[in-house]
Amino acid sequence: MYFTPHRHGFTPFASSPPDAAPEPVVIVGAGPVGLALALGLARRGVVVTVLESGDSVSYGSRAICLSRHSLEVLERLGVGERFAERSLPWTSGRSFHRDTEVLSFAMPHEDGDVRAPMVNISQSEAEQILVDEIEATDHCTARWRCRVLDCTERDDHVGVRVETPEGSRELRARWVIAADGARSTVRESLVLRMSGTSYEGRYVIADIHWRAPLPTERRVWFDPPSNPGSTIILHRQPADIWRVDYQLGPDDDPEVETTEERIRERITRHLDWLGNTEPWTLEWSSLYRAHSSSLDSYLHGRVLFAGDAAHLVPIFGVRGLNSGLEDADTLAWTLSSVVHGTAGPELLRTYAAERRAAWRQYVDQAEKSTLFMTPGTHGYAMTRDAVLTLANRRPVLRELINPRQSGATHSRTSPLTVGATEDEPRSLVPGDPVPDHAVRVAAGGARTSGLNAERGPDLAVLALDSEPEALADKVAALRARLAPGVGVRGLATSREAARVHGAALPETTLLDDSAETLARALDADFGEVFVIRPAGLLLGRFPDLEHLGRCDALADHVLRGGSR
């Protein structure tokens, strides 16, 4: 059964009284980025209102691929299990040129990884999980059928004019987050423009219900006999839904090609060519063109931008939603600190700068994939054909066909990142995303968990084989400065199982690393201390707890967005 969104009614509300304090945070847009941000703020005790012009989550699969890193974000928001239940993990893919296989790839997946490198789930389902969670969460209200008309910056707040079924309202908010997508009304009302590149080539994207015997892997056909000259991408989703993307030719009329009859004809040709004998139904379709564009800054006065409202990346390599969830994850802890008054607004400048730099990383990764998937010029089209023809005789050319699926971005050059303290190059350097890894929690009855789950949404101090008592003191001191905007957790590992099993410390979680697997995964020396930011990036690594320095100074560094 294809997903049918639940319809939400309008809940009446009044305009903000002029003599009352403005609302802390208003988020415009109940897409996945706005919803994830709302949850991240609410979990930290920030009162937040989400305004959505529609009366339901989106319809159609849209962004279907969630990276391992995004699943870590969702786990920290408390919805990891539901995403795991309702998504389909996958690890590999194949590409074909005409009827010949030219590439088989597997995404990195190692012992100790907690989850698959990628899962497929329709954006509608993802949004519904987040909406359901918001409805069960304090501090957070989603208002449906509330179309934002414009935003106006005032001295100490932003005025948000909203059209509702009962007439217009004006909300006053300390902070407004534009998470209202590629055609952002907020961006338009502030007369802000994105700049960048639009690529040639349009893709029809469609969901079909099809009981197919094919495995769960990404499949791509270049110039298939079923649709000569086109490129076709096939992804499996849960519940026998398949996503089909195919490229239109330069002379194809998009209006004609997006009619149901024409889409059915194209897909039928391809499925018949695959030898299909099963009936299938067309459930949803849309048209897509690749863009790489961004605002110059994601912070304008008291308005912050996140997700597609801030930046666009091409679909190839699945970086759009995954980058938006990184935005939400970073903005949740930085804005929470500002709203709670533990940090000044300068911390938000760090958010804006880091995420703009992250967009640049994504574009650098995506550009090659996009030029290959949708070559916009005769030159790129000719060389792609040559690469595909020669790929089986010159294996290095397969690297050009590899889709380079999304990975998490780093913040190595951010002012928040504390530089490496050693000359020896490490596989994990400050600013890098800290990979999740299976761990054994020792105290309170041994159990298996993950590093991501154990550090949760907080800033974590992970000490390898250090004295847990000394770590607990550091954690308490940091928490006194950073909470309630940012929680702090201590994680201590030990190779001495006997001591670990006997220990019980309130400020720290003890991890049994007698097999030293976590130390190896982090490329860490014993005694080393890792400070991990709430959004999972390595703030810094230190030879031992002494080198962490004064906790007040470290807390100031975090709250000022980097001043150490």
Binding site: E101, H378, T383
Partner: protein, 64 residues
């Protein structure tokens, strides 16, 4: 057909060749594309290929 594991420098060279040739092709007039490619192949043959290698590559390039 297994997962590619080419050395990074080989991959960088392949990417460089792909992009440089693509952009070079786009920079010449449409009427001169064949001539441009032939001049390029001739220069590569004279500067870098012996007779045997050139003969082998011509045979390989014929296969589509």
């Amino acid at each position: 057909m297994s997962t590619p594991a080419a050395p990074p420098e080989h991959i960088e060279h392949a990417e460089f060749a792909w992009r440089t040739l693509s952009e070079a092709l786009d920079s010449v007039p449409e009427s001169d594309r064949e001539g441009f490619l032939l001049r390029l192949a001739l220069l590569a043959a004279l500067d870098h290929l012996d007779a045997g290698t050139l003969t082998e590559l011509v045979a390989e390039a014929r296969t589509r």
